[in-house]
Amino acid sequence: MSESPLLKVNGLIKKFGERTVLDGIDLEVSSHEVVCLIGASGSGKSTLLRCLNTLEVPDAGTIELLGVDLADDDVRGELVRRQVGMVFQAFNLFPHRSVLDNVTLGPRRVLHQSKATAVSAALDLLERFGLGEKAAEYPDRLSGGQQQRVAIVRALAMEPRLLLLDEITSALDPELVGEVLDVVRELATSGMTMVLATHEMEFARDVATSVVFLAEGRIVESGPPEAVLHEPRDERTKVFLRRYLEGAG
């Protein structure tokens, strides 16, 4: 671990009213790492991801991205979000724009690329993920799996240093989950740094460089996937995994 971490979270606390959703999170993510956040619904996974993208403002603690403190007043949200891509559970594509326009909006308006540059880069990306033919379509003409892949491409088009994936397969029909996970797997292979919240334990075991188990806004256990998923030490992790395994089958 010679290089400094891409992302460094220290003592992060986030409250919604009286409720403490994140209660002192410490987390480091280095380049090319894939960190899987697991834990029950309401354990704080999504809120953590949103904080990392400054979509939520923490109540205490620091988040450093590439050595820059995000709480610094000089750091504007838009700047952070150029470096950090995010994909949502419900895709959140822009329904009034074609697939191509969804993908090029950020590069053109935020990165100020020329239309030609943005379009050709977008078409390359869409091609890479088997969506080349869908460029002119509107989101409502696509399946859920295709929409989510477009959402991933939209995030990638900004050439982020870090990609946040928030339960991106939870809204999909089971038969469509595979195609989306394959995309993430390919990204992991190509060295993309990712933090993802997921309920897909097998997938986490396959692609994660580390797994983080959250409960009640705290990191209960973290480490390599084999360790956390197969030999959990904390009782809460055991219960969660057992319940999950029973549920899965």
Binding site: R81, N92, L93, G106, Y138, D140, A171
Partner: protein, 271 residues
Amino acid sequence: MLSLASVFLLVFGIALVFLLSPGARSFGHFFLSPHFFRLAFFGDASESVPPMWQAFLKNVGLCLVAEVLVLFWALPVALLRMSKSALLAGPRLLATIYVDLARGLPLILVVLAVYFGFPQLEIPFISNGTWFEYGLFCLVFCYGAYVSEVYRAGVVAVPYAQTLAGQAIGLTKVQILRYVTVPQALRIVIAPLINDFVSLQKDTAIIGIGAGVIEILKAAQINQGVYFNDTSYATAGLLFLAICVPLTRLAEHFQARDQQLRLAGSIGVPA
């Protein structure tokens, strides 16, 4: 085939009721006479009866100008109503009272109050308005409230997730409004907006109660007074229908398109 038969039966049945009614002949003469329709529509210079199509142009002109003004006037009202700032609490309350008043008062009462009340105030600017200015005031006053609510609903209807998605690719607040929220709100708003405009168009007839000018209602009344025939009212009805029915269809078209679009970008809707 079946649908055709169903339509035919219904139309035929209704026509039959009218045709076989004891007063069919006199009803036809007094309300649907082609002769009096021609006289009403084109006017009759020898009896100094004004042509109704010309009178109708006054209504059309009034509604066109009113619609443009309403579009603008409703915007600050909607923004105020949606504002959360403590600083704007006063104006916000005012806007709320205005919307309640304007939506609660029948237009005809507003027309009477404005046309007969304003001149009595003897305030220079307010008391010597033309019929057109007073008409604009009444229509914009009443419809501004409705349209402001339409705006409000449109903005609220764009899911917050869309704003999040815009933020996530680094768009600024203004860019999100421009490229993400407002275009979608416009689509949502366009159908209800046209509906309100159809209604506004029709309500220009009410202006005739107060306005001392020969617009469609007055023209119809003059016509009726000269010939003792009510076909002029049917003529007025046809003129309104000629404008309002296509507008309504247009609204339905937009509504259908919007429905289709709104399905997109949300959870799991395969093609």
